[in-house]
């Protein structure tokens, strides 16, 4: 059913600490590996060894350079997957009811037996969280490893999404954002957690901790020194001894 639940009992989601992520892609690889064998798999790989490999990934690690005046440039690694939004536009546009948001835990899922592959949900999502499976003719997306987090045959500490359990840096946290006492709620409250693209009014559940603010402004001095040395060398090379 594509009507969004008024309130979900839990708000399961991820909190990603951009201070800690080193862009190793382990989360993306682990996600692909886990889910290709799971309930929504396989995640197609087209021409995996050719010139133009392509396929479905639920999680992709972007990276950006940030330039700000008076600061040294910084690199931010930016893993991005479905944010399991409270006001998920991908769910309400679905004409078939294949897209749904679960009332019990807020996870957004696609039912592959009902999806007609019209792709409208991928148009509605501002985050690019949904990818089309050309082999199966249906839309696919992050399930928050719904077949792992509720699996009672594995030990309790392993019941977290695959991306979280594999992250070697400890940048990814999983928990219930509806519970103010949970690990993710507390981390979010203590650390200026951010919504992606709040302008889109989707109320994402997943949160991102921003890189920490720079306290020292060394960049100008550093540039200055470098250019001094460079200028001096050029002067020497030109046998210019003025000044």
């Amino acid at each position: 059913m594509t009507c969004l639940p008024e309130k979900t009992d839990k708000k399961l989601g991820l909190l990603i600490d951009l201070n800690i992520c080193v862009g190793c892609h382990a989360c993306a690889v682990s996600c692909k590996e886990w889910n290709t064998s799971g309930i929504t798999g396989p995640l197609e790989d087209l021409k995996p060894y050719g010139d133009d490999p392509s396929g479905v990934w639920y999680n992709r690690v972007h990276s950006y350079e940030f330039k700000k005046e008076d600061e040294i440039d910084r690199t931010v690694y930016f893993p991005k997957s479905c944010l399991h939004c409270e006001d998920a536009p991908c769910v309400t546009v679905c004409p078939t009811g294949a897209s749904l948001k679960r009332a019990e835990d807020g996870i957004v899922l696609v039912n592959p037996d009902v999806c007609i592959g019209c792709k409208l949900c991928s148009w509605a999502c501002p985050y690019g969280a949904r990818e089309y499976d050309t082999t199966g003719g249906v839309m696919q997306k992050c399930t928050l490893c719904v077949d792992k987090i509720y699996d009672e045959t594995i030990s309790e500490e392993r019941r977290v999404p695959s991306c979280v359990s594999t992250c070697p840096a400890g940048a990814r946290h999983f928990g219930d954002f509806a519970d103010p006492e949970s690990n993710v709620s507390q981390l979010a409250a203590e650390n200026d957690a951010r919504d992606l693209f709040p302008e889109m009014e989707t109320k994402p559940v997943n949160q991102y901790l921003p890189p920490r603010k720079r306290e020292h402004h060394e960049s100008k001095k550093l540039d200055h020194k470098v250019s001094n040395v460079k200028d001096a060398l050029i002067k020497w090379a030109k046998l210019d001894f003025t000044g």
């Binding site: 690690v61 950006y64 940030f66 078939t96 709040p198």
Partner: protein, 300 residues
Amino acid sequence: MNPALSVIIFSTFSGLGYGLFIWLTANISMGTPPTNDQSVISIVLTFVLVSIGLISSTFHLGHPERAWRAFSQWRTSWLSREGIISILTYGPMVFIGCNIYFNLGFDVLIKPMAILGLIGSIITVFTTSMIYASLKAIPAWHNKWVVIGYQAYAISSGGVAYIMIDGWQYYKVVIALLLFALLTKIVTWVHIDKHRGQYKREDALGLPDFGKASPFEPAHSQKNYLQREMGYDLCPKRRILMRWIALGCGFILPAVLLYIGFPLAPIITLICLGGMMAERWLFFAEAEHVVRLYYDRDSV
């Protein structure tokens, strides 16, 4: 957005079809008794155009055999609503057509059926436009001009087709509507050009206070589904060319040809349809999805 032929054909053909049906049913509703041949031709043409559009729209589905499921989510989905109302509008269409052609004698019901058909057609075009206008992630579509425009283009192009079938008595009204539609299109372009660039990459990343962000290492080596579906790059020269083709063939030329009384009305209709297809191609090609902010666009 990638301008897929199946979707362009769907919305132009069904737009023309419902536009034509709006003219026929409006005429009957206002008391003009449906004359045998012309009305049947109008209805057959409407039926064919709308059906080509609907069938074409299933070509881009991953599972066309499941298309019936799309009628279920009318509570939230404009696509679902469009599917339902477009199918319902077949009712009056088939009824009026059969009643005239087979002389069934339900003449009392013709007028109420025409009113239902008229309302159904207008709502169908409205729901089609709302599929696009409801998408906040595509700013070029998320505005009222898309809704006004779809209605204007359907009724003006339908009017040209109606002249072709039922004679020239309303040609001045059609010219006025073509000019109104032309104006709508220009206002739409002014609107989207003015609002281009309103969302920044830093907003998308949730980090507006960290300076200017630019992509560093790509997340993947080759284009993925998102970039193929939503990463269409429109060359600025082609934009200008296509805008002129859309204006010229969609509105200006049909209006001029109607004004001078060009004898071959089917040619005017074809020119108008061609212009509509150029307009719809641009509608997709010009619309940039905000997901591009995570890839190659600083602002959308």
